[in-house]
Subunit: 229 residues, 2 copies
Amino acid sequence: MENNKEVLLPRLRQTPLFAAWPEDVIAPLLAQSRPLTLESGDILFAEGSSARSFYFLASGRIDLIAAAATGQEKIVEIIQPDDLFAEAVAFLGGRYPVTAQADAATTVLEIPLDLFVESLEQRPLLMRQMLARLSMRLHFLVKELRHLSVESAEQRLVSYLLELCPMVNGPTAIELPAKKAVVAARLGLTPETLSRVLTRIRKAGLIEVERRIIAIPDPLALRRWAEGH
Amino acid sequence: MENNKEVLLPRLRQTPLFAAWPEDVIAPLLAQSRPLTLESGDILFAEGSSARSFYFLASGRIDLIAAAATGQEKIVEIIQPDDLFAEAVAFLGGRYPVTAQADAATTVLEIPLDLFVESLEQRPLLMRQMLARLSMRLHFLVKELRHLSVESAEQRLVSYLLELCPMVNGPTAIELPAKKAVVAARLGLTPETLSRVLTRIRKAGLIEVERRIIAIPDPLALRRWAEGH
DNA sequence: CGGGGCCTTGACGTGATTCAATAAAGGTGG
DNA sequence: CCACCTTTATTGAATCACGTCAAGGCCCCG
């Protein structure tokens, strides 16, 4: 796949954030941006380092990781192609609150934050949009907090599967966005526990697992089952 | 204590959010606001209900609670007097992501969201400020996520105590912002566990506990001790 | 066919919860 | 001011969910 700026532009314009932006604002922003390629395992930015850019994921996979002093790691979010990330740090201090690490060969578009903020400054409509975006992330994190603190491994996994689920009232199948060890970290579990939980749900007849593909014959039944575990 | 609007105004003006606001913006906002009084246990707003107002806590205590289907509850944040809360919901959907419950006799000032957003619309500087505020909350939640997922009960409690700590390199004492059961829920623990952890740290000679007052002779030593637990 | 990720499975250990009983503190009315 | 009752906090024993450690199987690639 070509990942130069010309190819990326139309995809960038389709993101929720940039969809409404006029051409004369995007153009100079893009002129200052550049594509970066990463190997699996490469660190794009480290937690606490000063933030000068945000990113558009063109291809591959990025994990946003919060590490503790003990070396333990929690994946806060798994970034997918066509997602924007780290744009929210622009308005404060300017330090990344998480580490961004590629877990596959990856291409990102690096967009300078200062120019981005400047573009925003005189356009209340765009600012309004950014506010909505941050608000959405806030809701997402509150939901995550709830999942982590008051739900069991089963409930967390089921919630996660159902969030990936396009339709909620018919048989469907989903693909895990990364290898199981990464998904486990995303859910705050060890790979072993994830594996066990998956087989438990499978043996209850609620899902079928085929590598990264998970079939869900009846999402509602799955949700109901999770309530009692 | 009088809690009418006239008394509240100067306190409201001292909040980080409103400090920079010109009088002609605050005045109409306040004209549309009204004080509410709550008993301990009263629900100010429920998770998922449509959001028409945000609030300024004049006196008492409010817990922001995220509940799971099982009835388990996680306190996301303990609101203190002179704090603003729920202002971040304004920019999206308009549903509260958490439940707000008084855990003491409480007075809040109810401020209508629509008017607030209107005030913001034509004032990029204020919007910029709101963005910074949301960004800050985002960082806070990411930190919380890390605490919950990769830290032990000891580490969580110590982090929490040190965050309440005004000075970090001398002997100091802090007061827990609520009864221990509430603090426990805030930390994602049961009251029993909190009690045990407190005695463990106390017996290690790192704190002294006197009801809600906790003395910390050497905050740095406390932090160091937590690393290995 | 072999080697190396990736995933699964089992036995075991551990930290935190649960349940239950007790103790301490605080508020209330006599 | 004290007896009483309620709320809050502590402690102990049993249990459980999840993590850790270690071994083995699967699948894909050369």
